[in-house]
Amino acid sequence: MSRQTARLHIARGDSGAVPRIETFEVPFDPGNSLLDGLRWIRATQDPTLAFRFSCINANACKECMMLLEGKVIYACTERLHEGDMHVAPLPNKALVQDLVTEIAPRDERLLR
């Protein structure tokens, strides 16, 4: 299987600012997930990229919800593909940083 390249355009920033779009060229093997791609970016390009996940690949924790092409998806079950992919934080939750939003139920937060 030959390596392919996805071009990830990621909305970054915190709640105080207009999001800036940063683009990363992500090489991948067919079958790799969007979460694989985001983790590759952190380990090789930019460790400050913020996103949340817990169970890594099993779609058990439901933490890695974000927007891909404007649709709500789980990063762990969406596959990377050749070409442009646009990734953004959930629009209906308070933005914390980059792709991290406040997703915990209100009564499970430190600051309610």
């Binding site: 400050t48 169970c55 924790c61 933490e63 406040e102």
Partner: protein, 561 residues
């Protein structure tokens, strides 16, 4: 800085932490249940695919003493027998409790269904179909939690240090990940329920948050760790083709229900060459299977991705569908048709037998400090029996919550001391300029995982272990003593630093214990010391003082009270 106060502080909101919180609240305590991610969704519990071992006698006659005998046998002489006994004897209470809470254990002909798992002498493991034990248990426990106002649930808080004053635990300090602010949590008793250390390894079946936090917290607080050399590898973790949205240990349930054939590249079943023949049934224990697969790969008979083949091609499609229904469709979406192809599997870091040393009341040697679940060491000795992990979480969680509540009620105040909390808070309030680590912090985690997988896996040699020790010491120096950045929202680099601080300390205990144990036993296999030696029927115990690890040895506690 936020300051919170409770009777019982529970760190970690998986199965053990939730059972602990429920028990403490039942006994009249105000509880704080803290997790670094979401409540009841992280950790290992939610990942459980199938089996929970319990001598219910529903499928066939059984007694907890038979379950205990199997547990002790699997532990290869190193179990702390009172802990193993507690696990087996109290299992039925907790499993019935979950049944009453409508977890949905599989039933057949008016009784709970119990599956036969490797290492058990009879059908003993309850489960929820299909591959749904973990999610069902988590959902059920969350529903119980939400009914109880005395339990305050707080996610997105990473506990970084237990606060100890005059030798006693008085609370903890942590980082609120969303705001980047420090939090002080005062409590009359503290329970560590943070799970194991699977994140130390490249290929693992745990959650991201299982980086051994609780072991490091306990060590720095003055508690001891035991049996740290025994990391359980799950032999048939999914390897290829790439599969998404499914747990890598999902082939275990397939083996329970359908048997399956473990094959090498030549298409031969090979387990019999390593002492355990299979004839259609799933009887291969985890340590033997892991050994057999590694040896076949080493001999050049591995699958293309470096593991073994697992085949269900001999199983009729109707039987597959009957046993796993919707899971067959999820496999199809991943391009996997079990009637036409085998999958590739290989050992994957799965569970830690070692952990915080406690007695059968879950007490560490530090007053007011308890541990529960996988964070505890000793119940499984050198090798854990299939199905005992969730049982341990439930039983030890409930026990820790009960004992910690009684302790909290006997104390008028937490004894919190600002000075004692100061070093931990100073670390969290530190501000250092920019990203002044010499390397990418996420890459350092990846490097640590590669080092542990390549040098401190299930098969060990002195040379590789010594190399690992040297590299860990070097990484420790590179990490420094002050976390990078500070104060900002969800700062991933700072989080990596705090995680590495724990992971490196815990990795050093695994490596050092593995260097010292010059024999092979259960999950610790030394290629340079292949036999199991009676003289090594000893537990290795770590303590930590003035930045130095101390190691001692003692015979296991044998008498089951």
């Amino acid at each position: 800085m936020m300051r919170l106060e409770s009777d019982v502080l529970v760190i970690g909101a998986g199965g053990a932490g939730i059972f602990a919180a429920l028990a403490a609240a039942r006994d009249g305590c105000r509880v704080h249940l803290i997790d670094r991610s979401l409540i009841g969704r992280g950790g290992a519990t939610v990942m459980a695919q199938m089996t929970v071992a319990v001598a219910l006698g529903e499928q066939c006659p059984d007694h907890w003493e038979y379950h205990l005998a199997d547990t002790l046998k699997a532990g290869r002489g190193l179990c702390d027998a009172p802990l193993s006994r507690l696990l087996c004897e109290n299992a039925a209470l907790r499993i019935r409790e979950l049944d009453a809470w409508k977890v949905g254990w599989a039933r057949e002909d008016g009784h709970l269904k119990q599956a036969l798992a490797p290492g058990h002498d009879r059908a003993r493991c309850v489960y929820v179909d299909f591959l749904n034990t973990g999610p069902a248990v988590s959902r059920t426990l969350r529903a119980q939690l939400n009914r109880i106002p005395a339990i305050r649930r707080i996610g997105d808080v990473l506990i970084t240090d237990i606060v100890v004053h005059e030798g006693e635990a008085v609370g903890a300090v942590g980082l609120h990940l969303l705001s980047g602010e420090a939090v002080a949590l005062e409590a009359k008793s503290v329970i560590i329920a943070t799970g194991g250390l699977t994140r130390l390894y490249r290929r693992n079946s745990g959650s991201l948050n299982m980086g051994g936090d609780g072991y490091a917290l306990a060590l720095r607080a003055g508690a001891e760790l035991v049996d740290m050399e025994f990391v359980q590898f799950f032999p048939i973790g999914h390897l290829a083709p790439r599969m998404i949205g499914m747990d890598p240990i999902m082939w275990d349930p397939f083996r329970y229900k359908l048997g399956g054939r473990l094959l090498n590249a030549e298409g031969d079943e090979f387990a019999d060459r390593y002492g355990q023949a299979e004839s259609g049934d799933y009887v291969l224990t985890r340590d033997v299977a892991t050994y057999a697969i590694f040896k076949e790969v080493e001999a050049g008979r591995g699958s293309p991705a470096g593991g073994a083949y697992l085949s269900f091609q001999h199983v009729p499609e109707a039987d597959l569908r009957n046993a796993f229904g919707p899971v067959i469709d999820r496999l199809a979406k991943n391009g996997i048709d079990l009637t036409r192809m085998p999958v590739e599997v290989a050992p994957i870091a799965h569970y830690h037998m070692g952990g915080v040393r406690v007695n059968a009341s879950m007490e560490t040697r530090v007053p007011n400090l308890y541990a529960a679940g996988e964070a505890v060491g000793g119940a499984s000795g050198a090798n854990r029996l299939s199905g005992n992990a969730l049982t341990e979480a439930f039983v030890f969680g409930e026990r820790a919550g009960t004992v910690a509540a009684a302790r909290a009620k006997s104390r008028a105040a937490s004894g919190w001391n600002d000075k004692a909390a100061q070093p931990g808070l100073d670390l969290l309030n530190s501000r250092s300029s920019g990203l002044d680590l010499p390397h990418n912090s996420a890459a350092l985690v990846v490097e640590l995982q590669a080092l542990m997988a390549d040098n401190v896996g299930p098969f060990r040699t002195e040379g590789k272990l010594l190399d690992a020790r040297q590299r860990l010491e070097q990484m420790q120096r590179e990490l420094g003593t002050v976390p990078p950045g500070g104060g900002s929202h969800y700062n991933m680099v700072r989080l990596d630093w705090l995680d590495l601080r724990n992971m490196l300390l815990v990795a050093q205990t695994v490596v050092r214990a593995a260097i010292e144990r010059k024999e092979s036993r259960g999950a610790h296999q030394r290629e340079d010391y292949p036999g199991m030696l009676p003289a090594w029927e000893l537990n290795q115990v770590f303590s930590y003082q003035d930045g130095k690890l101390g190691l001692s040895r003692s015979p296991p506690v044998k008498a089951a009270q």
